[in-house]
């Protein structure tokens, strides 16, 4: 049943969006209508319409009551539901945040009303408690990007500094995340020295995060030297890819 609902309401949301676009197109057309066509408007006033949702925000799986009132309308429809009575209520259970778009029509014109229902989707369903919020991997990698180093260097570049600031903010907001910093080197030079260089790179990133307020015991450091390459061509751009401090969630 739930599955059916979800599919239906995803579709509904799409239709609603399309309808909104179409509606705004209509307005433009309407404004361009020549005065002669305005004649019926003088005799029949356009309908009035309002729609409310209670509650306005729900958790995924809960339901919400839509309540709408119109006057002077000959036909009323809600996108995703279809034709509905001029006044009414309906219980819905959308799968994601949805704009419910009501259109009331009569001979005198069209009136629209909207209400937005916010659906709170838990980002990591497995995490039970509030401070267990690990965020998604995609979000983690967007907010905590890998950093890259200069040739034979373990100093942070200006770009790396700003990456660290973003990373520190995200990690402060998600105290449940433990992170693994992997130190990597390009394949030039010698294997043993590169492992220590990678260690210094990963530790430079750790030190910067700690300075930015992330507790050190959340951070684990592993140097892979040149034993795990991201890119295997003998080009500068490839070497640059491999001179890396890689951040990942330490599970």
């Amino acid at each position: 049943m739930n599955t059916h609902h979800s599919k239906f309401w995803n579709k509904a949301a799409l239709v609603a969006t399309l309808a909104l676009l179409a509606a705004s197109g209509c307005h433009k057309k309407h404004a361009a209508t020549p005065p002669a066509a305005m004649a019926p408007e003088a005799t029949t006033p356009p309908p009035t319409a309002s729609i409310t949702a209670d509650p306005a925000a729900i958790d995924l799986g809960q339901s919400v009551v839509l309540n709408w009132r119109t006057s002077n309308a000959t036909s009323v429809s809600i996108d995703g539901i279809g034709e509905v009575p001029v006044n009414g209520t309906q219980t819905v259970s959308p799968a994601s945040s949805t704009n419910f778009h009501l259109v009331a029509k009569n001979a005198g014109g069209t009136t629209e009303a909207n209400v937005r229902v916010t659906v709170r989707v838990p980002e990591v369903p497995a995490a039970p408690s509030d401070n267990g919020d690990m965020g998604s991997d995609a979000m983690f990698h967007a907010k905590v990007p890998d950093i890259f180093f200069g040739y034979d260097s373990f100093d942070l570049t200006p770009e790396a500094d700003s990456s660290i600031s973003s990373a520190a903010a995200y990690l402060t907001a998600h105290p449940a995340i433990k992170i693994l910093i992997g130190g990597y080197c390009d394949d030039r030079g010698s294997a043993e020295y590169n492992i220590t260089l990678g260690e210094n790179r990963a530790n430079a990133a750790k030190t910067a995060l700690v300075s930015a307020g992330v507790t050190g015991n959340r951070i684990r450091v592993v140097s892979y030297g040149k034993e795990k390459q991201f890119c295997s061509e003998e080009t500068e751009s490839c070497w640059q890819q491999n001179r890396r401090g890689q951040f990942s969630i330490d599970r």
């Binding site: 040739y151 034979d152 394949d187 030079g189 010698s190 294997a191 043993e192 020295y193 492992i195 220590t196 260089l197 260690e199 210094n200 530790n203 684990r220 450091v221 592993v222 140097s223 892979y224 030297g225 040149k226 034993e227 390459q229 295997s232 003998e234 500068e236």
Partner: protein, 459 residues
């Protein structure tokens, strides 16, 4: 430094490298007859000043198929060992007399001492399978001494296998080398430990000094690097990549399994045995920065002997004294070669630039072999080659040229050879292990591609 200047430098250096490395009281060593070419010849490894030695094919004492097979293995191995020793002018088998002497009474020495063989010394003997035992009698004669020609005679009695035939040949060769090289034991019975690349793994392997008998030591399914065998051949220390990064592992060759080595945090790698076998030096980042530490062979009583920000790695002990450690440090930028006393005092920088790695201290304590890229830098075409530096003077010579990337030199126990890893085309998986004489001659591959980081046993 242009080529001629470099050659000049090498010329000057040659006399010091030649004398102490290959001190051969029986032979010596008059003038340096250097050829104007890119590598260096020592008088001990070419020309008339080497002992001219003939190794006759051994005479079969039985007619069965096993004897024939073992005899071929023995003859081939013996000739290769004596050729590889680098101190003999070997008589080509095509110049040897037609007869096959099997015993002292069989040999007509004048056949061997005159042209075309012109041998000064002759090794010969007999071999056969008797009662499922391989029995070998070997002799060494001085061809010019007609009255008392015999230098020594040896008898070997081993299990009748092809490997026994090879090992007996190694022992006989080592005996000849020991007698004719002024008392330095041969290396034909020594081993090489190395890293063998698998599918996503690197394991520790072992082989004979001539590349024969290659076999796996570890089966960890991890990335294992930097094998270092203990001076008594009982254990191999190495480092392996696990969940907590690289850690030192200790493998007992006697028990055939891993034994304890304490891990105390950080990355721990590049172990090196003290000549006593009682201590291990290695790089550890347990305090947050990679430094050189020394512990016992179980990882206990660890203490730090360097304290300087930047990578410190790849220690190697002075095997003669046990009182100094050479290592690689990035404290001033690119990695350079340093030496210090084992208590961390007396730090001395040895290289003046470039990118230096992978030091190995010579058995006599006078030299350090290492890999050096003197033109390392972004866009620089420099190559990484093997160099040998005299510790006392910091003078150096280059041993490899224009053969791709070279790394991880390791001295043979007799100090006459250096094993190293070579990547001819620069492709990382195309590592192979080669050996050469310390003058840079006699380069040959011991393995196919996929072998790296050789470590020559202490004996």
């Amino acid at each position: 430094m242009n080529l001629s200047a470099r050659l000049l430098h090498a010329r000057k250096s040659l006399s010091w490298v030649a004398l102490p490395l290959l001190t051969l009281p029986l032979l010596l060593l008059s003038s340096s007859t250097l050829r104007a070419q890119d590598t260096f010849h020592l008088e001990t490894s070419s020309g008339a000043t080497s002992i001219r030695l003939a190794a006759a094919n051994f005479k079969p004492t039985a007619a069965d198929a096993n004897t024939t097979t073992f005899k071929n293995t023995f003859d081939t191995t013996l000739f290769a060992d004596l050729s590889n020793a680098g101190i003999f002018d070997m008589v080509s088998k095509s110049l040897a007399p037609q007869t096959t002497p099997g015993a002292q009474s069989d040999i007509n020495l004048s056949q061997w001492s005159t042209a075309p063989a012109s041998a000064a010394m002759v090794a010969f003997g007999n071999l056969g399978v008797q009662n499922n035992r391989l029995v070998v009698n070997g002799f060494l004669d001085d061809a010019k001494n007609t009255q008392f020609p015999q230098v020594f005679a040896k008898q070997y009695n081993e299990e009748a296998t092809d490997d026994s035939a090879r090992q007996v040949a190694h022992r006989f060769a080592d005996e000849i080398i020991f007698r004719l090289s002024g008392g330095t034991p041969g290396i034909a019975e020594s081993k090489l430990f190395y890293v063998k690349r698998g599918r996503g793994t690197k394991e520790i392997w072992e082989m004979d000094y001539d590349g024969a008998n290659q076999h796996a030591i570890t089966h960890l399914g991890e990335i294992s690097l930097s094998p270092r065998v203990s001076p008594d051949n009982s254990r191999v220390a190495f480092s392996a990549l696990g969940k907590d990064g690289f850690q030192i592992r200790m493998f007992s060759l006697l028990l055939g399994r891993l034994v304890n080595f304490q891990s105390v945090g950080g990355t721990n790698l590049s172990p090196a045995w003290s000549p006593s076998g009682q201590q291990l030096a290695f790089s550890s980042s347990r305090t947050g920065d990679p430094e050189i530490w020394v512990s016992d062979p179980q990882g206990a009583v660890a203490h730090r002997i360097t304290n300087y920000k930047g990578p410190d790695v790849s220690p190697t002990w002075n095997p003669k004294t046990g009182a100094q450690i050479a290592w690689i440090s990035g404290r001033t930028g690119l990695p350079q070669l340093y030496i210090m006393d084992t208590d961390g005092s007396g730090v001395t920088r040895m290289t003046d630039g470039g990118y230096a790695t992978s030091p190995s201290w010579s058995p006599n304590g006078q030299f350090i072999a290492f890999a050096w890229n003197r033109k390392y830098g972004p866009g620089a075409p420099g190559g990484q080659d093997i160099y040998v530096m005299e510790v006392a003077s910091k003078r150096w010579i280059q041993l490899t040229h224009d053969m791709g990337r070279c790394d991880f030199p390791s001295w043979s126990p007799d100090g006459r050879h250096i094993a190293f890893a070579n990547t001819p085309d620069g492709v990382d998986s195309h590592n192979r292990i080669m050996t050469m004489l310390v003058d840079g001659t006699g380069k040959r591959a011991l393995t196919e591609y996929g072998a790296d980081m050789p470590n020559w046993s202490w004996k």
